[in-house]
Amino acid sequence: MFNNMTLSDSAQQEGGLPSSVLFIVGLVVATVCLFLAMSLVEFQPTDQPLVTLVASNLEQSGVENPVTAVLLNFRSYDTLLEVAVLLIVALAVMPSGLQDAQQPFITVSKPRERSLVLEAFLRWLLPAIVVTSGYLLWTGASLPGGAFQAGALLAGAGILLLLAGHHSFNFNAPTARLLLVIGLAMFLLVGAGVILSSGIALAYPVAMSGILILVIEVAATLTIAAVLVLLFCALQIEPLGPQPNLGDKEKHL
């Protein structure tokens, strides 16, 4: 029952398991991996039928980048559920507290200590990041890129904004909650809406598929960026409160 020990969490208790147990575990893991690797090496791969299928249907998918075509057309249902996964995590780490629900999403205040370099840097960088994020989103149709890359970049902008200290985000605000669900909501809306024309959920009409995929991706980008910033807040800001964040003192606890 190795997992029973997971919470002896400070560094001093490391190496809690006796070495004989470690040896047995290592032996078992090594044997399993050896067997897996051997069977992988022995096996001769057959032709992959999906390679030709993806290539031949790419034209009807509405995008030129095959990865985007798989993610948002052929296997769009996986991506839909993946956005749901992000929503779950956002809800799990969201600060609880109804009283903040009336506060605005973004509040601007004087930072405790100003970091002039970061502020100057931010003034230059922020517009560039937003534009680049939009470019990544747009280019995802034909080149590597897309909602996740764009969302991650946008989240980076949000995190820089937080670090500068002038702004703080309240994720219980109605706007924030809308941002968190808009990716999933838009995906469902489009997925259901296309039933009117094609009769099948998530099956975009060929002529419209490019634009519909873009609409979904824009919404997904907003949600991804919001979720990532929320994760940063939940993991970074909270522990700063009770303890002073001095690099040397952490280790002794």
Partner: protein, 504 residues
């Protein structure tokens, strides 16, 4: 004659809970969230009823599952949803339990600030469970497993105390590890067979080292999530420290979801790679689980922990399915198919019986905690006077878990015993009967204390912080417990449903 295609209703079973989740995030007032919950639950019930009414009924000549190709792309390229008898049964069970638990949760979380996050997570969990039962794609199943795992962990963590958070973290790490084992198997299977679709894999799978490796990885990953005995260590505390409706759905449905997948892989998708020895090994672990779970249930001091250990034991019964699938020498193909069918029917019945009984028990335990503020078994003495409904529910559900005659648990064990005797594996009979005996000891230990005679109980008065619970809370538990009784009288319904689209 169906006027429309039943298959086109399948995506609704996933879309409705997702929409419910979106609205419960957006509308965070108490009444709005409850209203959204009730609307989602009732529309799920309607959709499921229409689907069940339009299922091809009768014999095995309609033995093809209903399929729906999402996004209009056929199987190797796109993802299909599929529904056969086994998944239809589990979906109906899900919809039914979710409806009852939604009503219960509306009261349970009425005064708790945790409700703001409970409702969206609840509906996301339901969407994940439905999606898993409908999925016909091994990678898509991975995503649904993660939805279920992460949502379940987030719900366990709602309790907010240290024990709950610790249990949630352990549950999460175990779940992530299990999913990764599964995902590695997906990579291997895709490499070998070039498809992710259940039916296409089942048609091309053969017995080679990579198939064995994949099956072993899938089994380890999913057994970790199902909590079969050597890997059950995370379950009692995760289930025991979650809020009551969450414990109920975790024990009743979430562990069954990964068990369902195991059955799919062992009976259908990778059936050629299965050997008798491997089947026997799972059976032996199941047998150990029954005895170990019961003994632990007898020893624990907390009521909810006892119910959770009883889940460990009940999971053991489910794994008795596997040795009963063993092929014997000289048996013809049709004989083997019939044997598989009856073993699957017995275990499906077991799943339903256990789900209803266990949900009822967790509801009863939740009510007891709600009104007493603790679930220390020793301090329950004489409490039947104050909480007659909850303890009555506990007694009926307990009767079903033990396997006392009019209940569904009895029929389930009876069917299982029949198959065990038919396949000449009498030793399982001994284990099943011993398991029943031990479960009886554990449950009567509680009932004996709670229903103790009034003159002896004069010392035991309700504590000061005693709170009365709204009558709907014990009533929903009682409804579930009575369902286990009703199912005991209507066994054919379930057995017929399983026959559609067969496990083969």
């Amino acid at each position: 004659m169906p006027v429309f295609d039943v298959a086109s209703l399948l995506p609704l079973l996933i879309a409705i809970p997702l929409i419910g989740a979106i609205f419960s995030v957006l509308l965070s007032t108490k009444h709005a969230q409850v209203l959204v919950g009730l609307l989602s639950a009732s529309s799920l019930v309607c959709v499921m009823a229409i689907i069940l009414a339009n299922l091809p009924s009768g014999g095995t000549e309609f033995a093809t599952p209903i399929r729906y190709a999402l996004a209009g792309w056929k199987a190797p390229l796109g993802i299909a949803l599929s529904l056969d008898g086994f998944s239809a049964l589990l979906l109906s069970l899900t919809v039914f339990l979710v409806t009852v638990l939604t009503i219960y949760s509306a009261y349970y979380f009425a005064a708790s600030p945790a409700r703001v996050r409970f409702w969206p997570l609840w509906w996301l969990l339901v969407a994940g469970i439905n999606a898993l039962f409908l999925s016909a794609d091994i990678f898509n199943v991975y995503v649904t497993l993660e939805i279920i795992g992460l949502a379940a962990v987030a719900l366990v963590a709602l309790s907010g105390n240290k024990a709950g958070l610790t249990a949630a973290l352990r549950y999460l790490l175990v779940g992530l590890l299990g999913s990764l084992c599964y995902l590695l198997a997906v990579a291997l299977l895709y490499h070998v067979y070039g498809t992710l679709d259940f039916a296409q894999l089942a048609a091309t799978a053969e017995s080679n080292p990579l198939s064995w490796a994949a099956l072993a990885l899938i089994t380890v990953g999913l057994v970790l999530k199902t909590a079969l005995v050597p890997l059950h260590f995370w379950l009692p505390h995760a289930h025991g420290s979650a809020p009551a409706p969450v414990s109920a759905i975790l024990s009743a449905l979430v562990v069954k979801a990964s068990f369902y997948l195991l059955v799919r892989f062992w009976m259908e998708i990778l059936a050629p790679a299965v050997t008798n020895e491997a089947l026997m090994l799972l059976g032996i672990l199941g047998g150990i689980a029954i005895l170990w779970g019961c003994v632990q249930a007898l020893r624990t001091k907390r009521l909810k922990l006892m119910v959770a250990y009883s889940t460990v034991a009940q999971i053991g019964y489910l794994f008795l399915l596997f040795p009963l699938l063993m092929s014997t020498e000289g048996a013809s193909g049709s004989q083997l198919a019939a044997q598989h069918q009856s073993a699957l029917a017995a275990v499906s019945y077991f799943i339903v019986a256990h789900a209803c009984a266990k949900a009822a028990m967790f509801i009863a335990a939740g009510n007891i905690i709600h009104s007493l503020g603790h679930d220390d078994i020793a301090r329950l003495q004489g409490m039947a006077k104050y909480m007659p409904l909850s303890l009555f529910t506990f007694a009926i559900a307990g009767g079903s878990l033990i396997g006392l005659p009019p209940s569904a648990g009895f029929i389930a064990k009876w069917l299982l015993l029949n198959v065990a005797i038919d396949t000449n594996q009498w030793w399982w009979v001994v284990i099943i009967l011993m398991g029943g005996l031990l479960a009886a000891l554990a449950i009567f230990r509680v009932l004996d204390l709670a229903f103790i005679k009034p003159e002896q109980a004069s010392d035991y008065i309700a504590p000061d912080n005693w709170q009365k619970v709204p009558v709907a809370m014990p009533a929903s538990g009682l409804a579930l417990a009575l369902c286990t009784m009703a199912l005991g009288f209507n066994a054919d319904l379930i057995i017929d449903l399983i026959a559609i689209g067969g496990g083969e």
